[in-house]
Structures are given as structure tokens and as C-alpha cells.
């Protein structure tokens, strides 16, 4: 059962989306309207549990009268605005964003990106073999999760989840500037020397697999990771009385990772170290 938050009814904002009139509750975004209308707008840095940073710019749409394109994920709907989601101009920017990302970052574990690259006819190779890449190697400095920043698109979601939006640990930040900007703890130290509390909420929100469970990372390296063979069981965490929902991802009768449903009114997808990583006792068969 999902709790239904009580709040005053919100007014509806009416505007035009690709020539069709649409209505979204006041405060809603263009992306909300697109999704309600069944339009597939690609998104990367947008997350259902976080305030979008609108940094990836893959969801850009054309707003009548605006000089530049607007990010659908964070542009609030205004009465009377005219929005076009699928023009030559939006397709061009989306294609370029995908090309720029795919030419600099390893997107192999980013869901849906392969389909988008195809849909937008992106050719990441056209920047040549010498195009600068991040060139990072995975950082394995603890037993719980791995930071593979070669896959990082700097969406800021992990920073926001670690910081004031959820965890309030502030263990990580974007450091450096421009193409050299990276996610790091203070002085770029190993995670074990930082304020990290291993809640894994950054792993939960990472859209590209740059952050992953150590179990998943090892299985991928061994070639045994098989999402199709996994079952997902949502249950309740047994550690304390809060009652967080856990989704156990099980492959070959072993728990391989733990997530939490983002629509859970208790956790909104967040867990603590015990719920997220403390599952070994379940499968201890000795």
C-alpha cells in the first residue's frame, strides 16, 4: 500500500506540446508533460528521486521565442508556452550530446543509450582516434562498491544524493574544472579515508554504472553477470524498525545487489549500509 500525501489540489497549466494542447499540474516540468503524453525524451542526469541538475543536456526541447534550447527535465511548464520536442534543432543537439559523451566516456553499461545512439544516428567515432577520453581506471578501494570514473558523465546525481538532497554526508564533490572535472573525496583520497558512510545511495542513483556493487563489478569482469537470469524480490529490511523496502537482485540463488524502490514512501530509493550491503548472512550456508 502506498501512502497518498495530502496536499491542496494543484492548478493545471495548459500549454502546447508539439502542436497538441497538454496540461500538467502547476510546478510540473516539460518532461512531465512529455512523459504523460507518451513521448520518449532521452534523459541521463534526470533522476526520479532527485532535483535534476540539467547538466547532460540530452533532453533539450525547443521553446518558442527562446534563443537557446531548454532542458525538458527542469524547465517548468508555463501557461501558453509552445514546446517542440522533435525538431531538426533538438535532434541535432541530442545527437551531438550523445556523440560527445560516447566519444569521451565508456557508456557500455548505460541503459538505453545504445538505442538512442542509433535513433539519433550518432557517430561518436567521427572525432577521430585521438579524441581525448577520460582514461580513468576503476578504483577498487573497499569491499562494497567500485568507482569506475571512466564511465562517469558528471551528472552530479551521486553528489546530490550524498549531500543535501538525501544523505547529508557530503563525502564527495565535483573537483577540478572543465574536461578535467571529476568526482572525488577531499584531496582525492581513497574512499576509506573519507566521510563516506557506505550507504550506497550514490550507487542507487548512478545512471551509467560508474558506481556499482563490488559483486556486480566482479561478476561483470568474470563475464558471469546476467541480468536476464536475475530475479527481483521486494521485501522489508529486517535490521531496524523503519521498515525500508529492499529489492533483492538474485542470480543463481545468490543475492548480487540490493536496491530500493524509488516510489517507496519510506525510503525513496535510499538505504543505509546495513540494508544495502549487509546481506551476506542470508546466504551464509555454513
Amino acid at each position: 500500500m502506498t501512502a497518498i500525501p495530502l496536499q491542496p489540489p494543484r492548478r493545471l497549466v495548459e500549454f502546447t506540446l508539439d502542436g497538441e494542447p497538454v496540461r500538467v499540474p502547476e510546478g510540473g516540468t516539460v518532461l512531465d508533460a512529455c512523459r504523460a503524453a507518451g513521448k520518449d525524451v532521452p534523459t541521463l542526469c534526470e533522476g526520479d528521486t532527485l532535483k535534476p541538475k540539467n547538466a547532460c543536456r540530452v533532453c533539450v526541447v525547443e521553446v518558442e521565442g527562446a534563443r537557446t534550447l531548454a532542458p525538458a527535465c527542469s524547465r517548468r511548464a508555463e501557461p501558453g508556452m509552445e514546446v517542440r520536442t522533435d525538431t531538426e534543432r533538438t535532434r541535432h543537439s541530442r545527437r551531438l550530446v550523445l556523440e560527445l559523451l560516447a566519444s569521451s566516456v565508456d557508456l557500455s553499461t548505460t541503459p538505453r543509450v545504445a538505442a538512442w545512439l542509433k535513433e539519433y544516428e550518432a557517430e561518436p567515432d567521427r572525432f577521430g582516434p585521438d579524441a581525448a577520453r577520460l582514461g580513468e581506471s576503476p578504483r577498487v578501494d573497499n569491499d562494497l562498491y567500485v568507482r569506475d570514473y571512466d564511465k562517469c558523465i558528471l551528472c552530479y546525481k551521486c553528489v546530490d544524493a550524498c549531500g543535501e538532497q538525501w544523505q547529508n554526508s557530503f563525502a564527495i564533490s565535483v573537483v577540478g574544472r572543465g574536461f578535467d572535472a571529476r568526482i572525488a573525496v577531499e584531496h582525492d583520497a581513497p574512499l576509506t579515508d573519507s566521510a563516506c558512510v557506505y550507504c550506497g545511495n550514490c550507487v542507487e542513483v548512478c545512471p551509467t554504472g560508474a558506481l556499482s556493487f563490488k559483486s556486480e563489478f566482479d561478476m561483470r569482469a568474470a563475464g558471469t553477470w546476467d541480468e536476464a537470469a536475475q530475479t527481483r524480490t521486494t521485501t522489508v529490511c529486517a535490521y531496524c524498525g523503519v521498515g525500508c523496502n529492499l529489492t533483492l537482485h538474485v542470480q543463481d540463488n545468490e543475492i548480487v545487489k540490493v536496491t530500493s524502490p524509488h516510489d517507496s514512501p519510506v525510503t525513496h530509493g535510499n538505504l543505509c549500509i546495513k540494508g544495502r550491503f549487509g546481506y551476506q548472512h542470508v546466504q551464509n550456508r555454513d
Partner: protein, 619 residues
Amino acid sequence: MDLRFGDSKPTDEERDAVDALLGPPESAWEGADDRSDADLRWARGGRAARDRRDLLLPGLHALNDRVGWISEGGLDYLCRRLTVPPAEAYGVATFYSMFSLKPRERTVVRVCTDLACAVRGAVPSAERGGAVAGVTVEDSPCLGLCERAPAVLTIRAGAPGAPPRTPNRRSAPRPQAPDGLSPAHPAPAEISARPAFEDEAEGRRGEAVPQAGDPALILLRRVGVVDPASLDDYRAHGGYTALRRAFALGPAAVIREVTDAGLVGRGGAAFPTGRKWQATAAQPDHPHYLVCNADESEPGTFKDRVLMEGDPYALVESMTIAAYAVGARHGYLYLRGEYPRARRTLEHAIGEARARGLLGEDILGQGFSFDIEIRRGAGAYICGEETALFNSIEGYRGEPRSKPPFPVEKGLFGKPTAENNVETLVNVLPVLTLGAAAYAAIGTPKSTGPKLFCVSGAVSRPGLYELPFGATLGDLLGLAGTPDTLRAILLGGAAGGFVRPDELDIPLTFEGTREAGTTLGSGVVLAIDDSVPLPRLLLRVAEFFRDESCGQCVPCRVGTVRQEEALHRIADRRGAAAAADIALLRDVGRAMRDASICGLGQAAWNAVESAIDRLGAYA
């Protein structure tokens, strides 16, 4: 917020530098050495602790100024004092190019390798070679000394009062010594007992203003004429008459005058100043803030520096008027980190004005209170973007915010903020002294008033020129003296565009340059002769944007890199051999212009595009 600090300890010097800014720590929880019984009953948290976040940037400056770099122990101590998570402070410190997180020499020489200096023969360190003992030499983007190019900035770390410490700026020997820099050259002048500046004679001569003393000047009439350290001299030359007029009119009428005068922002965006003030003044949320953007970093721009060094009280007075109009009691002056002399003249001017009742409580007995705080940038072009500047003042990384909401509604500290650059503010003085109608009669109907132009490069009299809007490019270059070998003119700096030498009849107005398919930008006019190959200048532009991109959005973060790579590939190619890469540049440029968050990314391809389309580069 449960903060975790590392085990690194600050040195005595670092502790002293931070304590000089923040006062001694009140408790062992804040980093004091000795624990006492009082510590058992000491608690500071929540808002009171977090509210000092905006002191992070001044704190980083304190460490960097004293030691020359920021160590783990120093940073941790600063974080403890300010209740800032170390990871965030590290993210902020690594954002700025003037800070080093690695040990370096106490004397740092920053060599400008940007456009105006490149035209005058400056070479990047990679080609310069030769190390100097005891000195760290770094390449720098434009230092804003273009009229004296090539330029270097010497920064010496050390305790205040212990000479030689004060950052000192000089123009470099010309031509550039092939073996790099002689350490003897930028030797400091004896630190003067005078508070304002040690090389006062230079400021007074106004060598940056070739027209100095011309009675027709409006904005520059005092530069090079008055003693920038003397408030009396300023008043003897008409200072503070505009403020008196403002008090006589009242805030609403001041805004009306500025609106009727047709004053628009001089930073490049040309937004009507009156409308901005009106929108800020009308906000019910309080307090309102006034922010003066003195972070001019556009390569080739130095107008704000000349104004601040030569006529600092004019800025203090115009900020007071602006604050009166928008209902602000607190003004921030965000000054480029590379402008130490402007900082000294302004600090002196603000102190004098405060002592004489022209700042502070109850100014001129009118019941209006206002004060100005200088905040120093630390080497980031992007902080000239208004919302990035707010983040920088607030102690966050200088990344632009997405708009809406606009600053007039939610600006500095989330409050209504009017932000104007130095030249715009200084224009308010003639608006009030001449009256809106007389001011609007200057220039053209759509671009009113006088305009400053930063002329540099291949001209015989580089410097800051003032002309009424409507003068042509040829008029301006006639004053500055152009060579016969003129190859191109860059208007508006790295974010602007090139025009050909046969386009000198372009009127220098917002509408005139727009019609001509180019931009006035911030007023940069950089003359280029055939001594520097155009592809090399374009590479420098591309390198500038790659270095200065904040890295927040993909089109700019990766696009500026791809743009630079393509320009490297075609540096020596022409015609069909370059065609594929030019098509690629157009694709990337268009996406940067359409989809970047802020003006930096949107403009990062302007100059290259104009060089290809107007000058026929690579054709």
C-alpha cells in the same frame, strides 16, 4: 551535518592566516589546540555554523596568500572553522586557477599568453623553456593588461606587512626574453607607506587612456587627471553630485531616469539597466543585494581595471546610487583576483568614503545605509557569468545556475539581486548629472551614451578609448593608429567575432554590429596584423574556452575539447583537406550554442565561426 575531518594538522603559519581572517577559534571543536571544560558545553551547529560558508573563498585566499598553496592540513583547519565539508571545500579550491593544492614556490609568476599578448610576442611556457630557481612560472589567460602587452603578474606569498609580499604587476620586457623570465625583472618596488598604491605615478599618468585630459570625455574624464587616492580631489572634479541628485529625486525617480536614459548593460548582454533595477526594487522578498561584477576576464578587456585604478570613487558613488535605487543595504564588489592594484585603490577608496560618512549608516544624513564588501575572485573566467558569480561569493564552485529563476528574483543568497558591471554602473553618474534626456541624446537612439573600447594588438596607441555610440570602427582605429598590415579585427574578445579590415565602416553600436552580423561584446577591439598566423590565434581562443569551461554541461565540457582538437588538426591545412573538420566544427559549435547552460558555452564557437566565414580561414 556530521562532518569528518582528516588527521592532517595545519602549520602555525596556516593557522595564523586563517585566524587572521576569522578570529581565534572559540573551542577545540573549532580547531583550538587546548581543550577546556567549556568545550564540554559548547555547541554550534545548524544555521549559525553554516551561515559562514561565504567565507570559504576568502579563507582559501588567506591560506594561498600566506603560504603560496593550500595544504591538506590548512584546508581541513579552514573547514573545521567554517563547518564546511572538506570534500566540498576541496571541490571549490580546485575550481580556481590561482590556487594550488600542491606545493609551489612562494613567488608565482603568471605569464599572459592570451590573444593581445600573443599578438605582441608572448609565447606559452612549452615553447619558452628555462626554469628560474625560487619561482614558479605559470601560463595565464588574459591578465587584463592588454594595452601594455605582453604582461606578467607576479604574486608573492607571505605574511602581511612582511615585505616583499604585496602582489605586484608590471609589464614584461619587450621583446620576451627567449630563456623565460629573469627573476630580477618584476622585482617589487619598495612597499610604500602610502596605503593606496606604490606605483602611484603610473596610475596618475593614466597611461592606459590615450585621450586622458580631453574635456569631451565623460566616463574617463577623471582618469589620469585626479589623484585616485584623494576623495577631496574626486569631489573637486564633480564627485558625489550624482548621489546628491539621487537623494533629491528618490529611488523610484532614479530608476525612471536610468530607464529613460536608455542605459543598457555594458558587459555584453545589453540588458536595460532600468528594467533590471525596477524588477529588483519591486521584489517583496528582503534583503535586496547589489552586486558589482568587476570580474572582467574576457581576453582583451581591461576597461573596468582602468576605471577602478584611475577613478575608484566613481564606482563607490555609483554603487551607492544603485543600492539606493534597488533598496539594497549591502553591496558586493566581486573583483578579479588578477587585479591587485585595483583592489588596493578600491579598498582605500571604500575606507575613505566610510570614514567620511559616504558609506555606512545614514549616508549624508539621508537615512539610507549602505556598505560595500570586496570579494576577490581567484582565476575563473566563468565567474563573470552572473549566477556563477553568486555561487562563487557564496562559497560554492563557480558554476552557473540555470535560469529561470533570474537574479532579480533569486540571486545572491537566494535573494533579489541587481548585478551590474563596472562600466554600466559608472554610466549612472552622467545619467544623473546630465539628466536622462541629455544622456539619451548622446549616441544613437537605440544605443545611448558613451562607450568604452579596449583597443589592443597591432596599433600604435593601445589603450582605453571613450567614444559616443555610433562612431565607426574606422574612427576608433584611426585614433589608435593602425598599421598597413592590418589583417583582421577581433570585436568583443574570445566570445566575440572577427571582422575584415575592409569593414571599418561598421558603426560601433549594439544594433549596428548586430546588423553587420557581429557583436560589440564587452568592447574589445583587438587589431591583428600578419605577424601572427590566424590559426594560432584561433587555437588560443579554443584553448581558452577549454580551460575556462566549468565542466557542468556536456556540450561545453566536451565540445570545447573537440573544437580545440579539430583546430589542431587543421592548423596547417586548407581547402578540401580542412573541409571535414570544418563541418565537424560547425556541428559541435551549433550544439554548444543551442544546448549549453550559459553564455560561455554558447559563445565558445563565435570567434572560430567568424574567422571561417568572414576571414576565410582555412579556405
